[in-house]
């Protein structure tokens, strides 16, 4: 009998705790209702891509030396480098260069390894097309520069979460001059430089001091 009652008591405890967790969960859901929507109304509002965004690849025909490093580092040997050997000058003559963005995974290896920096990543990501073959960009298409989100007058550019000031998660009502939380990479570099130089100074002076204090050495 006692065992049965204990069982009932345990069961009731479990039920009560389950109900408590359910109410906690409801509270969390309810709390979310007073938060502002994070929606970015896409065609009218766009997020500013970050500095290291890997979008469509930009290519400068004149810089290219047709070395084919990009082809070798590409996971699927995607770039097509069309060159002929000019026997007179004994130099490669580049005729065409193309990358098919229908197959590219935007890993950025080609950009990383290009010896002449003729490949670079842009912030363009709107690559929708009616025909997959039109995603095969030749050197002219690759050479076009995308319009930046910030300079497009028909688009309201919004900052990404990491670029918002501390404590703010809604990019809509934000002054352009409000700085992001934390430091910019350039600031960090400057600080590091300053620190380093100061350290050097200190070392220098301490050396001098030690020299002075121990003249016998």
């Amino acid at each position: 009998m006692l065992g049965f009652l204990e069982k009932v008591a345990d069961y009731t405890k479990e039920v009560v705790s389950a109900a408590k967790y359910l109410v906690d969960g409801l509270g969390v859901t309810f709390d979310h209702m007073r938060r502002r929507p994070v929606t970015v109304q896409y065609p009218y509002e766009k997020l500013i891509p970050s500095e290291r965004y890997r979008g469509r690849i930009h290519y400068e025909f004149d810089k290219c030396i047709a070395c084919e490093v990009c082809v070798r580092v590409c996971p699927i040997n995607l770039p097509v480098v069309d060159w002929v050997m000019n026997k007179e000058t004994k130099k490669k003559e580049l005729r065409n260069y193309s990358i098919d963005f229908g197959a590219c995974i935007f890993c950025g290896n080609c950009v990383e390894y290009c010896p002449t920096n003729c490949l670079s990543m842009t912030e363009e990501y709107e690559l929708a097309a009616f025909d997959r073959h039109s995603l095969n960009y030749d050197n002219v298409a690759l050479g076009r520069l995308p319009t930046s989100v910030t300079s497009d007058p028909s688009v309201r550019s919004l900052r990404e979460l990491a670029y918002l000031p501390e404590g703010i998660i809604d990019p809509h009502e934000l002054n352009a001059n409000q700085k992001r939380a934390g430091k910019l990479p350039s600031q960090i570099i400057n600080e590091l430089k300053a620190e380093k130089s100061q350290e050097e100074d200190n070392n220098h002076s301490s050396n001098m001091v030690s020299n002075k204090s121990n003249p016998t050495n």
């Binding site: 359910l22 409801l26 859901t29 979310h32 209702m33 929507p37 994070v38």
Partner: protein
């Protein structure tokens, strides 16, 4: 308790004054409240769909429908129109007769159940003596429609969904009926009007929720299960069954399922407010309030105000419960089928039996407070 406004009486008398017989006047009266309730049920569904989308969006920090009308209020209308003009597809290998009858059989009992929902003393289609029992009986027809559409679609997901829906519906009807039985025992009547009146003796303190807290929770869980709302939406579990019994449906036939689901939700919320939250009763007794101002309760103005307050209160309470259902939808994960049946048979059924027993003994012990 005052009798409130009797629209039927005044209508039939008005028509009789035009020189028609009493029977004909009655016959003319009958379709009016039906039409009114049908229209209000559909409008209630549109509002619920809009609320569901907006509240879901808010709970997920989205915006929700925005461009169709102010705040997207016309979005459900647009959805309905889209479904209306869509092609009505009957799969080639499906059983076309059963495929068509299924959704109708799901919708009709739900709409019929609106017969007993009171918005005021005389503001319901029919104050039938068996009241709430009629609703329980009618809601037991639904599983047949679900089985029919599940079977006739000639699709394994549909069949499984239909079987699940029927099993769920049958299992949760029993604790639901037992929870209702405890209420009926306290108010000595099956009629929804009597149940509400018995709760409106002392404002919100006399609501059944204080005397039947366990019954209230059981009823609400079972009502959610009957409506196939999210913690219990196994019959249409997307991840497993595509869309359950509605997989093969499109256009208006799908709209019938959709409509039945939402009408059922609104109906359940209304019935919870009728059974447990005092129905059309204002939290403070209107009689007391009008005597405070010094107006007689028979004053026509007071009566009209009381009636409109009654309608507003009923709808307000119901929509608070709908809000709770939507909140629950985004809080609780879906249960497994064995957990669902465990909850129904091993938890809710014994608890509701105990609740019934406790209510009966309390009724014998304190006949004053528990309706002797």
């Amino acid at each position: 308790m005052n009798s409130g406004i009797d629209l039927e009486m005044s209508f039939t008398q008005g028509v009789q004054n035009l020189g028609l017989s009493q029977e004909l006047a009655h016959l003319l009266w009958i379709p009016l409240p039906m039409l009114l309730v049908l229209v209000s049920a559909v409008i209630g569904v549109l509002v619920t769909v809009w609320l569901e989308r907006k509240i879901s969006a808010a709970a997920q920090q989205r915006i929700g429908p925005e461009y169709a009308g102010a705040l997207g209020i016309l979005q459900p209308m647009a959805d309905g129109l889209k479904l209306l003009v869509k092609e009505d597809i009957i799969p080639a290998r499906a059983d076309s007769v059963l495929f068509t009858v299924g959704p109708i059989l799901v919708l009709v009992p739900v709409i019929l159940s609106w017969l007993i929902v009171p918005f005021g003393q005389n503001l319901l289609i029919s104050n039938v003596g068996i009241g709430i029992f009629l609703w329980i009986a009618l809601s037991s027809i639904q599983p047949i429609g679900l089985l029919m559409s599940g079977y006739s679609s000639n699709n394994k997901y549909s069949l499984l969904g239909g079987l699940r829906a029927a099993a769920q519906s049958i299992s949760y009807e029993i604790p639901l009926a037992l929870a209702v039985l405890a209420i009926v025992m306290m108010s000595n009547s099956l009629s929804t009007v009597d149940i509400v009146e018995q709760q409106n003796t002392a404002g919100f303190l006399s609501w059944n929720i204080w005397r039947q807290p366990v019954g209230f929770i059981i009823f609400w869980i079972c009502a959610l299960a009957e409506c196939e709302r999210l913690p219990f939406d196994l019959p249409e579990a997307e991840e497993e069954l595509v869309a359950g019994y509605q997989t093969e449906y499109a256009g208006m036939k799908f709209a019938l399922f959709y409509l039945a689901g939402y009408i059922n939700l609104v109906l359940s919320a209304l019935l919870v407010s009728v059974l447990y939250l005092g129905g059309w009763g204002f939290p403070i007794s209107i009689d007391w309030f009008s005597s405070l101002i010094g107006l007689s309760i028979d004053n026509p103005l007071v009566q009209i105000i009381a009636a409109s307050i009654g309608i507003v209160m009923t709808i307000l309470k119901a929509y608070l419960l709908v809000f709770l259902a939507i909140l629950l939808r985004w809080t609780t994960p879906r249960v497994r089928i064995d957990q669902l049946l465990d909850l129904g048979w091993k938890f809710l059924l014994p608890i509701s039996l105990v609740n019934l027993l406790v209510t009966a003994s309390l009724k014998l012990a304190f006949p004053m407070t528990f309706g002797g």
